[in-house]
């Protein structure tokens, strides 16, 4: 997901132009009101005589602000009065395919990047049709007219509201190549803009997947199999059915489900099942075994992701091994889906990041055609990649099909935590060497890690044998070092792996930015100066964010007594982020973060408020992982179940955060994920500055930092 194939991108662009000639395709047409008093020149908007503009957003809202960003893109080119703009969620329809994926899906920090041109074109096309309508009405040439705040304006000052042009505009030909504005003329894009979904999220009216309801539905809770393919040895169906309100017990491939009148009965029934699993070979899986297998993978790493100079001819003087564990996403909203299989039709209500793929997958599950699968996208109570997976929608559809009832499946927190789809555990062995001046002459890295590409179901490891997601951020690091070899060795301990906020960057930035810091320390160099020098003459955007974050943090000036700084930089999803962490370490080894100063260069901006908040969010997410995050295994089973043993950062631990945006005219980069990668290394590097102890494993083991 992180990598864009340009050919694929262009092909999708072609698909979009078909969207223009057939402005409303499939279900989008069915969803639109069949009213003659609505101007809906394409799938992205409706304009009504009351001047109201409804933007239809095909991306899923999981906090990252797409329900505001997509309308901003469209409104900018439409020259809309922002106060008249509202948003609604699109159905699943090819008209809303994410051009970077070729399918309707939300992830990889792509929404604004992927829709930057097509959604603005949709707005511009509508604007040109409104201008053509006004030109016709007034008998004036279209090129003498301009638009402002939802009005067409003639040279003499005569003006007409968009709403009054609805019928006439709908008769105008759809322009093939609508003219887009120059970014210098933007009035909405690039300005901090309030979210459109805030009021509903403060008064209880916002509807998330878990809030979906249809009459006659049952609620299902499942005892989930610890791994795919694991079958129950036994379960107590009678005990589950003895619970008042329990209606059915159904065994499906992913586990045993209890269907009841409500959650409470279903959960009691689920617990009464007391399922014994036939663990087979998986019983041998433990966290020690995971580490062993990762180390074996690294030891035999022979899929070369990067080779420069003659790494084998340079003797290593620095060696270090780093390791990170599996991580759960732990979205606040446990996974859920309401599904209703009605004969040859399927309808689901869910917070899913992959509406498009869901149509295809669920049609196979229910043995219907994809066009017969209706996907109602509700708000996502967090996604972070987890809701890109189809497992919970598949289970719900199966349960509805088998029970012949609408079924709302809700994972108990414990089942959500143990359901798999984890950020891969990973281990890297570094070797480095410095020349007489203290600059690196060697960087060698052998990575042992499972493959997301192989696990994804829609990607494959290329013939090189390198899973690009296992090495992203590492094999494409920006530092100028003459002799390098970065290699990947696939290790598959067994747990299902998946995309987790910033994917491979989440661990690889920790690895490389920590080892670069080790080399700086070995060279007795300032970590910032060392990085700037090692970036050479290129990499202006890396340098830009490093320098801005450092300047704003007061790098080089003394911090408060006992407070120390660390720095790290990463490029991910087309954006560049540097972070300076200020930390003090208590006598018992507990680190306290006082402040994080971030600088981001994400090119042209849609909504700077969202950018600040997403960087802040990504820092908090990365901090939880650095301090606490680990999914461990014993006897083949996940040892964590809820927030007491999978702790996350709380209010009292949240550092002050400053976010500074580098002004840029570059193409927009992603923003949901790039703030996460630099946090762990910046924190670990600050802890090194504070204690002289190098953190090489996450989560941070504070016992190593105790004062003797």
């Amino acid at each position: 997901m992180g990598h864009i194939d340009r050919r694929e991108f262009l092909q999708s662009g072609a698909a979009l132009s078909i969207g223009f000639t057939l402005p409303l395709s499939g279900r989008a047409a069915a969803a639109a009101p069949a009213a003659s008093n609505t101007f809906a020149p394409n799938a992205w908007l409706r304009l009504t005589p009351d001047n109201k503009i409804t933007v239809i957003c095909g991306s899923a809202e999981m906090g990252q602000g797409v329900l505001t960003a997509i309308p901003m893109l469209l409104a900018e080119e439409l020259e809309a009065d922002w106060k008249l703009v509202s948003v609604e969620q699109a159905p699943a329809d090819a008209a809303y395919n994410n051009p970077m994926f070729g399918m309707q899906a939300t992830g990889g920090s792509t929404t604004v990047r992927a829709h930057w041109t097509p959604v603005r074109q949709a707005g511009a096309a509508a604007r040109e049709m409104l201008v053509a309508a006004a030109a016709k009405k007034w008998g004036l040439p279209a090129d003498k007219l301009r638009c402002e705040r939802s009005h067409v304006i003639a040279p003499g000052g005569q003006k007409i509201a968009y709403g009054a042009l609805v019928a006439l505009a709908a008769e105008q030909p759809v322009p093939e190549k609508p003219l887009l504005k120059s970014s210098a003329d933007f009035k909405i894009l690039g300005k901090p803009t309030r979210r459109l979904d805030t009021p509903a999220k403060t008064n209880g009216t916002a509807k998330f997947g878990i809030d979906a309801r249809v009459d006659g539905m049952l609620v299902a809770v499942m005892a989930r199999a610890p791994h795919a393919g694991i079958k129950p040895k036994s379960f107590n169906e009678a005990a589950a059915k003895a619970v008042k309100g329990v209606r059915q017990v159904l065994a499906i491939p992913s586990g045993v489900a209890v269907l009841a009148d409500g959650y409470w009965a279903a959960k009691k029934g689920r617990d009464a099942l007391a399922v014994e699993w036939d663990m087979g070979d998986k019983a041998a899986l433990s966290s020690a075994k995971v580490s062993e297998m990762l180390a074996e993978g690294a030891a035999k790493a022979n899929a070369v992701a990067l080779e420069k100079g003659a790494a084998k001819d340079v003797a290593a003087t620095l060696k270090a091994e780093y390791e990170v564990p599996y991580l759960a996403h732990a979205c606040m909203e446990p996974l859920n889906c309401l599904a209703w299989v009605k004969g040859d039709e399927v309808e689901i209500w869910a917070g899913t990041q992959s509406q498009g793929p869901a149509q295809g997958i669920l049609s196979q599950v229910a043995s219907v055609t994809p066009a017969k699968v209706k996907v109602n996208t509700l708000l996502l109570g967090g996604g972070f990649g987890r809701r890109f997976a189809p497992d919970f929608t598949i289970d719900a559809v199966l349960l509805s099909k088998l029970s012949n009832r609408p079924v709302k499946l809700i994972y108990a927190r414990e089942d959500d935590m143990a359901a798999g789809f984890y950020r891969p555990a990973s281990l890297v062995r570094f070797e480095g060497a410095l020349d007489a001046s203290g600059m690196p002459t060697l960087l060698r890295a052998d990575v042992g890690s499972p493959s997301i590409m192989a696990a994804s179901g829609f990607m494959q490891i290329p013939p090189t044998g390198v899973d690009s997601m296992a090495v992203e951020g590492l094999s494409d690091h920006p530092y100028e070092i003459a002799n390098q070899r970065i290699a990947y060795g696939r290790a598959e301990p067994g747990p299902q792996v998946w995309f987790w906020r910033s994917v491979g960057h989440s661990q690889n930035a920790f690895f490389i930015e920590s080892f670069i810091d080790e080399m700086a320390a070995a060279a007795k160099a300032d970590p910032l100066a060392f990085r700037l020098k090692l970036l050479g003459d290129k990499h202006a955007r890396h340098k830009g964010v490093l320098e801005l974050a450092a300047a704003k943090a007061g790098w080089g000036k003394p911090a408060a007594p006992g407070v120390h700084r660390g720095i790290a930089v990463a490029e991910a999803f087309g954006s560049y982020v540097a972070e300076v962490v200020e930390v003090s370490v208590a006598a018992d080894g507990t680190p306290k973060l006082h402040r994080v100063v971030a600088a981001v260069d994400c090119g042209l901006t849609a909504n700077p408020q969202t950018i600040e908040r997403q960087i802040e969010s990504a820092i908090c997410y990365g901090l939880s992982a650095a301090l606490y995050g680990k999914i461990t295994f014993a006897g083949g089973k996940v040892e964590q179940g809820n927030f007491h043993d999978y702790p996350v950062v709380r209010m009292s631990e949240m550092p002050k955060i400053e976010v500074h945006i580098v002004p840029s005219k570059a193409e927009p980069g992603g923003i949901g994920e790039p703030g996460t990668p630099p946090l762990a290394p910046a924190l670990a590097n600050a802890i090194f500055a504070a204690t002289g102890k190098r953190i090489r494993k996450l989560p941070i083991d504070t016992s190593l930092l105790k004062k003797a």
Partner: protein, 156 residues
């Protein structure tokens, strides 16, 4: 025996398992879905409501414990001056991201401000640290509590 209680000022009578947590009565029987399920073990705060004005975790409070009591949820909290000020501050500072935890955050913040009009940072930490947010909106929550505090104490 039906269990009688008051929810957002209205008397309700529930014919349900007295051991069932209040959360599910609110969400499923009364269809007040603004109160959220997060953990089921009083660990995350997403299900926070007020019982006679005090914050409780509804996922771990059996119905039997709220018989005859007054319950306020996110849908009803705006009826009080504190609730209204807090909701306005949340909108003004555009606090939510995914929004899932925010009902619980608002309910905890309202309970804090109802008891202490000018909370310190330490008071905020104490009152709010049982409410998790995976989007990391904590700094905006803190700012919104202070904003609501300022509006509630203006002219006082």
């Amino acid at each position: 025996m039906p269990i009688k209680l008051t929810v957002n000022g209205k008397p309700v009578s529930l014919d349900a398992d007295p051991e069932m947590p209040l959360l599910w009565a609110l969400r499923e029987d009364l269809q007040l879905t603004g109160t959220k399920f997060g953990c089921g073990m009083a660990l995350c705060g997403a299900c926070t409501v007020h019982l006679d004005g005090s914050p409780i975790r509804s996922c771990s409070t059996p119905l039997s414990a709220v018989a005859g009591k007054r319950i306020t949820t996110i849908e009803g909290v705006g009826a009080s001056s504190t609730g209204k000020a807090v909701q306005l501050a949340w909108v003004k500072l555009d606090v939510p991201q995914c929004g899932y935890c925010q009902s619980g955050q608002i309910m905890s913040a309202c309970a804090l401000l109802a008891g202490k009009k000018k909370p310190s940072d330490a008071d905020i930490d104490n009152a709010m640290s049982g409410n998790l947010c995976r989007c990391g909106t904590y700094n905006q929550i803190r700012a919104a509590i202070k904003d609501a505090s300022a509006s509630l104490t203006k002219g006082a």
